[in-house]
């Protein structure tokens, strides 16, 4: 990256990193080849800040979501202490037990960011009780379906449709534990969602999937079969 007078210097786990004004911690870290775990954040889309898996500690005193917090000069970010890792693990475990995630027969298995995050963090079995919520499946659309059992309410579909496809397809209804993803109409087929839309491919988990071509990638060739999630970012050689 071109050195600029305005560049902001800060540290992540004691390592000096440079970023540009207006960048979030997560963005600047990524450019420096440092991975901040994330689920609701999707490159190029307005950060949502809902999963909290990107939680970092700043200046040893306060925590924030790295995907929404802008960087500032001299900031000291803790992205890997045991304390931070514990918080993140707890959050990922919560996402598993508040929904119905049956990885063993989910089409997204091996390509799922939630599952991959659990593997990266070494989660074997969640400590929280399963809630087993009742959730609806909407298969009204000819090419795609939405299975709310697996939704982690990350809004990636909502914002990708809005910002990249220029369509209002998804939104949220309800609050608290009753919050759920809804479509702009009475059912998915009422919306303008098309199979080729970016939104159709934005879901980190198996909540929005194509109807045809299930289990297309064989085991061994799936996204996270070889290396943990985030490895691509960490492998980047920067500056």
């Amino acid at each position: 990256m071109e050195q600029n007078l305005e560049a902001i210097t800060f540290t992540i786990d004691g390592v000096e990193v440079q970023g540009m004004p207006g960048q979030t911690i997560l963005e600047a870290a990524e450019e420096a080849g440092i991975y901040v775990p994330r689920l609701c954040q999707l490159k190029g889309i307005t950060p949502h800040g809902s999963c909290r898996v990107c939680t970092v500690k700043v200046g040893g005193s306060w925590t924030c979501a790295a995907c929404t917090q802008p960087i500032y000069e001299g900031m000291e970010v803790d992205n890997s202490s045991e304390e931070i890792q514990t918080l993140r693990k707890d959050l990922v475990e919560m996402l598993f037990t508040e929904g119905n995630h049956y990885c063993m027969f989910c089409d997204k298995s091996g390509n799922c960011e939630l599952q991959a995050m659990a593997y990266r963090m070494g989660i074997m079995a969640p400590k929280y009780p399963y809630i087993y919520p009742e959730a609806e499946l909407d298969a009204s659309h000819p090419d795609l379906f939405i299975d709310r059992n697996r939704c982690i309410l990350c809004a990636r579909c909502v914002n990708t449709a809005q910002e990249q496809d220029g369509k209002s397809v998804f939104d949220f209804a309800g609050r608290g534990p009753h919050k759920k993803i809804i479509v702009n109409g009475e059912k998915l087929s009422d919306t303008q969602l098309a199979a080729a839309d970016k939104a159709a491919d934005a879901c980190p988990v198996g909540a929005i999937l194509p109807k045809k071509g299930a289990y297309a990638k064989p085991v061994g060739a799936r996204d996270y079969d070889d290396a943990p999630i985030g490895s691509d970012i960490e492998a980047k050689v920067c500056k």
Partner: protein
């Protein structure tokens, strides 16, 4: 019917300028007329306001008082609060169920009554209480509510239920409510005599910068809970870039046990509006919005009439109080039942006609608030105090209270004390002195600052009520001998679970898990490890949540773990075999037998 609906929706939307930003008012009107906002109505509203149908559905599903299913002509919302419970709401609930023949969450077959629970409505000093359509009824007993239901069934209107109106302005025909103020102690800031327009004129004689300086001199800190310096907040909002700026008055008053804003609005509405006008002048705004919680809808007409009087007197509108070039007006926005909408950015979302979601920070409301413009959100009591500051002076104000907490504080007291109600006391008062004042010296525990505050034990009674010690937005709940503090904590967790906006993982899911484990301990099925489990879980929710709701929702558990640890330890059994105590094998086998249709041979 459908024709009716279409005509009505068109009419209501037109009245609201076909503006999706007025979604709250539109949905409130449709709900009142058709007793629901049906899927068909949502589609129509979206068409009329040229917005997404999912926006309408998002709003309707977010607020407690909207429903997609048709409700009865009369909706009875019984207050589901820990204090109401202590004062006998269970008897009232039982009487209602018997009298109506339906359970909570249901509507009678004749379509006449719907029964529901709702969290603290701001009436714990006259509990048990209920909201019947928009009318608040208080000091209920089983017999009293039975009589009310019979009257309503015989054709009485909800207003007919008010036989003896409450004290003070509550008896004014514009309010005519059985709600009482119960003001016990008056102080020099809020409840002292005041003349209209004196403070406003004194402020308008200064420059906006001088007004902000005066507020800074007073040392006034926000009365809504966080205690941020009001002068600084105004300075930031004034300094923020933007032609239009807004003032918002937070009258959401949702923290259980708090009801002081209700009394201020009843008795001192002019002070609040005058404070908002001064604030508008200080930050350079032409418009103020007072966000009134849905439970206080009975006050809307009254507050509108006070605003009208102020317009007539030239205290709102063009050239306010003769000040050339200062135009300012105020409107009242009603909520529809959502505690989180008291959080300032959620309040703004709600006013913008969307779900009451908390917004991402930064930007802060002072930079980018209502409609994307710099906005200062302040509490009702804060604005009333501002009015006093300009009648007396900032210097005078800073001389009352304690160092770091100037002025007085209104405390709303309820629970096990002889004199529940409102007390205006100077900051710095010792908790024990306050308990003597309200007749609660026998307390074994006091919830200071509502569920999001701290449950303290008698060791803390020597501490003082001020921002830097025992901070409170005004809620003081007193618990006497024999009360089970863990059950209190569980009730508060239930509140947070239901009131979470659901945006972020820790608050949406974490609170459910906290409550599950706490209840397990209360049921005597707790394990030693459960304390450590709760401590870690509470910490995760506290430090990773996105807003103040989740950041404080574990407090009922963390503060009881700290101040009443024995209550946990005494209920936890020794468990040398490391059995899963909450696992009941007979119950599981019975369930399995029911599913499979056969019994195991071995049991």
């Amino acid at each position: 019917m459908s024709q009716n609906l279409e005509t009505f929706v068109k009419h209501v939307c037109r009245e609201n300028g076909n503006d999706a930003g007025r979604m709250m008012d539109i949905c409130r009107a449709v709900q009142a007329e058709f007793r629901c906002v049906s899927p068909e109505a949502m589609t129509l509203i979206a068409q009329e306001c040229n917005c997404d149908r999912s926006q309408v559905e998002g709003v309707v599903s977010f607020y407690h008082f909207f429903s997609t299913k048709k409700q009865g002509e009369v909706v009875i919302w019984l207050c589901d609060d820990v204090i109401d419970e202590m004062k006998g709401s269970a008897d009232v609930a039982e009487a209602l169920k018997q009298e109506l023949g339906v359970d909570f969450g249901q509507t009678t077959t004749d379509g006449k009554f719907t029964l529901g629970w709702t969290p603290c409505m701001g009436l714990p000093d006259q509990a048990p209480a209920a909201m019947i359509n928009e009318e608040l009824v208080t000091n209920l007993t089983g017999d009293k509510i039975r009589e009310m239901v019979r009257e309503l069934r015989a054709g009485a209107s909800v207003k007919d239920l008010v036989k003896v109106p409450g004290d003070g302005m509550n008896a004014d025909p514009r309010l005519n409510t059985m709600v009482s103020n119960n003001i016990r102690v008056k102080g020099p800031v809020i409840f002292a005599d005041i003349e209209n327009a004196v403070g406003l004129k004194a402020a308008l004689a200064k420059t906006p910068e001088e007004v902000i300086e005066e507020v800074k001199t007073s040392g006034l800190r926000g009365r809504g809970g966080a205690g941020f310096s009001t002068g600084l907040k105004w300075m930031f909002t004034r300094g923020a870039e933007g032609e239009q700026k807004y003032i918002m008055c937070n009258a959401d008053e949702g923290e259980p046990g708090t009801f002081k804003d209700r009394i201020i609005l009843t008795e001192c509405a002019d002070m609040v509006f005058e404070g908002m006008t001064i604030a508008g002048y200080a930050i350079g705004s032409t418009e103020g919005v007072l966000y009134l919680r849905g439970e206080y809808a009975y006050m809307k007409e009254y507050l509108d009439s006070v605003l009208e009087e102020r317009r007539d007197a030239g205290l709102l509108g063009k050239n306010v109080a003769g000040k050339e070039g200062f135009d300012y007006d105020i409107r009242v926005q009603l909520g529809a039942g959502a505690y989180v909408c008291g959080e300032e950015s959620a309040l703004i979302s709600s006013c913008e006609g969307t779900r009451g979601d908390v917004k991402t920070r930064p930007p802060y409301p002072a930079q980018k608030g209502y409609k994307g413009k710099p906005t200062s959100v302040n509490n009702v009591e804060t604005f009333a105090s501002v009015n006093r500051i300009f009648v007396n002076s900032g210097q005078w104000f800073s001389a009352t209270g304690s160092c770091g907490s100037s002025g007085t504080k209104l405390l709303s007291v309820s629970g096990d004390c002889k004199r529940p109600g409102i007390y205006e006391v100077p900051f710095g008062m010792k908790l024990i002195d306050f308990l003597k004042m309200c007749g609660g010296e026998d307390a074994i525990a006091v919830q200071v600052g509502g569920p999001s505050g701290e449950l303290v034990n008698p060791d803390a009674f020597g501490r003082s009520i001020e921002y830097d010690d025992l901070a409170t937005g005004g809620s003081m709940m007193v618990f006497g001998p024999g009360r089970d503090v863990l059950k209190v904590a569980s009730k508060f967790l239930e509140f947070f679970v239901e009131e979470s906006c659901g945006y972020c993982t820790p608050c949406r899911a974490g609170n459910v898990f906290i409550k599950e484990r706490l209840d397990r301990i209360i049921d005597g099925k707790g394990d030693k490890d459960d304390i450590a489990y709760l401590e870690q879980l509470c910490n995760t929710v506290k430090v990773t949540s996105r807003c103040g709701l989740g950041q404080t929702s574990p407090n009922p558990v963390t503060s009881t773990l700290k101040n009443f640890r024995g209550e946990y330890e005494s209920r936890i059994q020794e468990n040398p075999d490391r059995m899963e105590l909450s696992f009941d094998i007979n119950a599981e086998l019975t369930e399995a037998a029911a599913i499979t249709g056969r019994m195991s041979e071995h049991f």
